[in-house]
Amino acid sequence: MFKVERKPVADLGMDDTAKGLAPERIEKVMRWVLERESDARLRTYVETCIHCGLCSEACHYYLSYKRDPSYAPVSKVRQTLWDILGRKHPADGETVKKYARIAFAECNLCRRCSMYCPFGIDIAYLLALVRRICGLLNVAPQYLQDNTNSHIHTFTQSWVGQDDYVDTLQFLEEELRMDILNARIPLDKTGAEYMYTPHSHEVTFKTHLLANMARILNVAGIDWTMPSTDGWENTNQAMHAGYYETMGMIERKHFEAAFRLKVRRILAGECGHAFRAAVYDGTRWLGWKTPPVPYVSAIQFFYELVRDGRIRIARKIQEPVTVQDPCSFVRNRGLGEMLRYIIRATCEDFREVTPKLEHNYCCCAGGGVINYGPPWKFIRMEGGRIKVRQFRETGAKIVIAPCHSCHKTIEEMSDFYKLGLHVLFANELIVKTMEVPEAMRAVQQKNEGTGGV
């Protein structure tokens, strides 16, 4: 049978940290996670699985690696969690590193496999437990650890200073006013309908995305605000590293900012895992069944704006367009039809992908994998082969990917495989096609296009 050779990957966060690990410490952490923390689910799943392998065909890694059995979901659990549960002797650093590679770099926690398992076993949950063990032992990709270090100090994933954040928003407001008359990015406005929470990249090197959001909110006449304090960023890489204490702290900060500002809803930017952390993992770890403040994804928000005529679509994109269904929004939240509604409203030639909606494949960047940086790029490129094939078959020139992780990796894949694909966020789609009413335009003669993309 075809067997894939795993290329070794040098990663300080796993190599150096695994070296000096004492077996007693490994044992202690494993016991803590498996005996004190994990709930009945672990036992049920382990006892229920009949090793039938029906989950295999679901996994994009398995498919992309030519059905190599070691990439089958159940096999990844067998090589990690079952190994841990059945161990007679304490593990050493090298073993932890092996677990870490599988749990961090061979699973995107996308949960597609659970749909194909006759018992609905949540393999992603099991592999996340392995991540937690490895993470607590500091054996996790260096870039991911750096993100989480940043989270605990700055409540953002990219070391954004409190001064830089506010300064950037003020600057973006000024810029926006070149186009939109008297546009505002209101800070700390209490009692607004929405608090917008972006990805930190929207205030660092992808500021046009935040400007786009502000543009849409202004044009649609939405009552909104952003906090001037920590709690504004919505990503949560700590969730991916298994640092649940930090994950919880980030989400709490986030919701408390909303409570302080007395907003009715939180409007989340286009980031799949951020949505997942706020709606499921982080919220529940804190003890809330559902988000304590309604948490609206950008997809749902745009859908409602277009449906209710709060913004008018003035022109349509002519080139063939296809879609990436981010797992966190689509498989795990069912927003796929809303996403298609937005695309059909703004694009002339929409080409569906196969499989689609909740059956769509993960882009291979999810679960934080995109954040592991250059050392792991080939994992994303190779693991995404099935995705590439899917896009190729549509013949589309543009992919709508409303998730920072999906977006970035598809851009990389397009370069790597020379697909010639242009990737757009949903907000870019709206800004490119919406009408800015005459009275709102700062420069009256500038009728065509609205810039900002």
Binding site: L12, G13, D16, V29, W32, R36, G135, L136, N138, Q142, Y143, Q145, D146, N149, I152, H153, T154, W159, G161, Q162, D163, V166, D167, Q170, R177, N182, R184, P186, L187, K189, G191, S228, T229, D230, Y243, E245, T246, M249, R252, F255, F259, K262, R264, R284, L286, G287, W288, K289, T290, P292, V293, P294
Partner: protein, 419 residues
């Protein structure tokens, strides 16, 4: 409180300013802020491009600036804001700018009497704090958050004391995060530090600290509690002494700890937002007796009624005998007092305010886009476009309402029974 005696509690109704008229004069009028006594209303207005200024009761205040933000009335009714002029930031108080200028200022904070005003500052790539226009001598690699002592004379901020390059996880593990008080960093450093708080005598400061992935504690003036826990939230001090109280996670659930020792016997699925009574005798906290079910526990005893969505920080009455908190169930907000929620619920409700004699509770609320005062669960007859939190008179018999109706800002004094 005595200060409130000097407010005008006799004039029944006064139109302070026609704020709609401001909108005719200026292309942009930002959010309004009002003074505690309701005698002033202000907003940042834009006269023309890159020319903004605070406007108070209809009069432009001082000169125009390139940017103005963080406009706030101080407790003593002076107005303060951060302004950018000629590419330099400073703080302006009632029209008078501080002499020092900065690359950026944020987190404007002040003491309860308004005497101390402080901001986090950035200057020449160093970070610090400025209190009443005087900047800490020492600068840090980074500062975040700002707290001020009750007496208004000390400030503290979270700091990074050495530069750590991005991706330097080994450097980070060597610990460079701590608290700086009045310009001096604590000797001890941590993997994470958050939730700074001053003691009531302004002499001590506590914060939650991360020692390792499953090892959290509280540091008081840089000294770590003798015990650590697998989870911890922000500490608070008891009024009148230096006992630090923090929610901690144990093997059996969350509870409160004091100076490192467990305080409450009962364990909960979650505990946070602990608040001490003014006399220091009682502690109330937000608790989840079980997953997804929220209430308030006072001295470890949870209220019987629970709420599904959320319960916010508890507030004690001035006599320390009663507790009120915002509660949320099925996306509707109301207030619960001593365990009993008000019958009516709202689209949004603001924090509860006790009368000086502790007998009444009032709050600002919103329903169907209109604002109103709610007293002891009874919503006022009149509703307003916009309003600010109600203020009780010192004798508790009257209430000051500050609101905008028909585009005009009013202050109105009413007998509480007539709300």
């Amino acid at each position: 409180m005595t200060e409130k005696n000097h407010w005008d509690w006799d004039t029944a109704e006064k139109m302070v300013s026609d704020v709609r008229e401001w909108r005719d004069r200026f292309p942009v009028v930002q959010e309004f802020v009002v003074s505690n006594d309701g005698e002033k209303v202000a907003a940042v207005v834009e006269q023309e491009k890159q020319k903004v200024a605070p406007c108070v009761n209809g009069k432009i205040w001082g000169e125009a600036y390139e940017r103005v933000w963080s406009l706030k009335f101080l407790p003593d009714h002076r107005l303060a804001c951060a302004v950018l002029r000629d590419y330099e930031w400073t703080v302006v108080v009632d029209g008078t700018p501080w002499e020092e200028t900065y690359d950026f200022v944020w987190n404007m904070t002040f003491s309860a009497d308004g005497e101390g005003i402080a901001v986090n500052i950035k200057k020449d790539n160093g970070f610090g704090v400025a209190l009443n226009g005087n900047t800490w001598e020492h600068r840090f690699v980074e500062t975040r958050d700002l707290v001020m002592s009750p007496n208004g004379r000390s400030t503290a901020t979270r700091v990074k004391t050495k530069r750590i390059a991005t991706l330097d996880i080994a450097g980070f593990a060597e610990k460079a995060l701590t608290v700086a008080v009045d310009g001096k960093a604590w000797d001890s450093h941590f993997l994470g530090i958050w939730g700074m708080t001053f003691s009531s005598d302004s002499a001590s400061i506590a914060a939650g600290v991360k020692l390792d992935h499953l090892d959290f504690s509280v540091a008081v003036d840089g000294n770590i509690w003798g015990t650590s826990f697998p989870g911890i939230w922000e500490p608070v001090f008891r009024p009148g002494n230096r006992d630090a109280v923090a929610p901690v996670k144990t093997g059996k659930g969350w509870t409160l700890a004091i100076n490192g020792r467990l305080l409450w016997e009962k364990r909960f699925s979650q505990v946070w937002g602990q608040r001490c009574s003014p006399d220091g005798q009682h502690i109330a906290a937000v608790v989840a007796p079980e997953f997804g079910v929220w209430t308030i526990a006072v001295d470890g005893l949870p209220w019987e009624m629970t709420f599904g969505d959320a319960v916010l920080f508890p507030a004690f009455s001035p006599d320390s005998g009663r507790v009120a908190a915002v509660v949320k169930d099925k996306d509707r907000y109301t207030i619960a007092v001593d365990g009993i929620p008000w019958k009516e619920n709202f689209d949004m409700i603001w924090d509860p305010v006790f009368s000086p004699d502790s007998r009444r509770v009032a709050a600002k609320a919103r329903k169907n886009g209109r604002h109103m005062v709610v007293v002891d669960g009874r919503a006022g007859q009149r509703t307003f476009e916009e309003m600010w939190e109600p203020v009780f008179s010192p004798d508790g018999a009257k209430m000051l309402m500050r609101y905008i109706e028909d585009g005009k800002f009013y202050r109105k004094v009413v007998k509480v029974e007539e709300i």
